[in-house]
Symmetry: C2
DNA sequence: GTTTCATTGTTAGGTTGTCTAACTATTAAT
DNA sequence: ATTAATAGTTAGACAACCTAACAATGAAAC
């Protein structure tokens, strides 16, 4: 059974500020949106801490995680791929990889089969550092979800999908 | 009943990449985490679009939203307050307000009762612009949550609270 | 009331991370 | 063989943050 305690139906704290219902408005709906915002803020803060701890920028960390994920799949990532996934230019990706290499988190290796390209690999150090930094957090998150019932997971999944669609469906006009 | 369709129990698309279960691992739990990540990415992308549309930086928009929220409460925000909420220095807040003023989104007014402080107010133009830009999106999000059952809202609220705790409980170590 | 310390905001100068534009090296197409 | 497209690098500009030093006001001590 999920150990998660609802802070809406159950607990006290009312997610404060920011959202305020369009009209008369069901308070608990607003609460949910405020909680979503809170989660976002917590994640942003966490990224800030990690950034501080590892002395890296925002995208550098995301890039490193892509590299690690690729490594587990024995896949090869080029700078181009990083640029695409991070939505930055090739030029920026180039200096991003410069930074990763300078810090010892990644390595440039010749790309097999296309001599224009440079394959980028995470180093063991990068692997270690990221895992150590994020492992516990990931474990906690996984555990929370794992302890939920299938129905609850379906509800949450539907919620997240719908929220994502709300954001994706082109916001202004 | 909620019109939201679960993409886990229901639909096809399997939230791809990134998360991969610690061990053997219940796939749908991983799906939920991937959906959470997707939501994050969608929100980041949305902010990017808004930023582009309005020609402002990330924090500028958040600041403007704080100002608008304060306005609806007839509250007075000082630059200090903005700096605190945005986690930037007073110096940065100063130039942030410079930018808002330059773009016509905010106004510096003498603070009633403390001549050191400068109160910052959103202008009507700032109000209009933000509302027009974000209104539809907010409405869509609100609608989704409003159409959920109380039980579903409680489940989602518990999930978000637990995820936030997972992030907040100090990540490394 | 004057001296002293704390608070708020500004300015100057530096760093970082992005961008565009111009260039090289390789690959693919005609 | 020439031409066009792709991958990466470099140089230079810009935006937004930072720290440090400063001015002005407020509060507290004496």
């Amino acid at each position: 059974m999920p150990e998660v305690k609802s802070s809406v139906s159950g607990g006290g704290e009312r997610a404060s500020g920011y959202w305020y219902g369009p009209d008369g408005s069901d308070a608990s709906a607003v609460d949910v949106l405020n909680l979503l915002r809170r989660y976002r803020e917590a994640e942003t803060a966490m990224r800030g801490r990690v950034r501080g701890d590892m002395g890296m920028g925002e995208k550098d960390i995301v890039a490193l995680r892509y590299l690690l994920e690729a490594r587990t799949r024995n896949a090869v990532l080029r700078q181009k791929d990083l640029a695409a996934r991070l939505d930055i230019t090739n030029a920026s990706a180039s200096s991003l990889v410069d930074r990763l290499v300078r810090h010892g988190f990644a390595r440039r290796v010749p790309h097999p089969g296309d001599r224009r390209s440079v394959a980028v690999e995470a180093t063991d150090q990068g692997d270690r550092e990221v895992r150590e930094t994020l492992r516990n957090m990931h474990d906690r998150m996984y555990q929370v979800v794992n302890e939920m019932s299938p129905d609850e997971r379906a509800t949450v999944a539907a919620f997240l999908s719908a929220m994502t669609r709300s954001l994706t469906d082109r916001c202004p006009e």
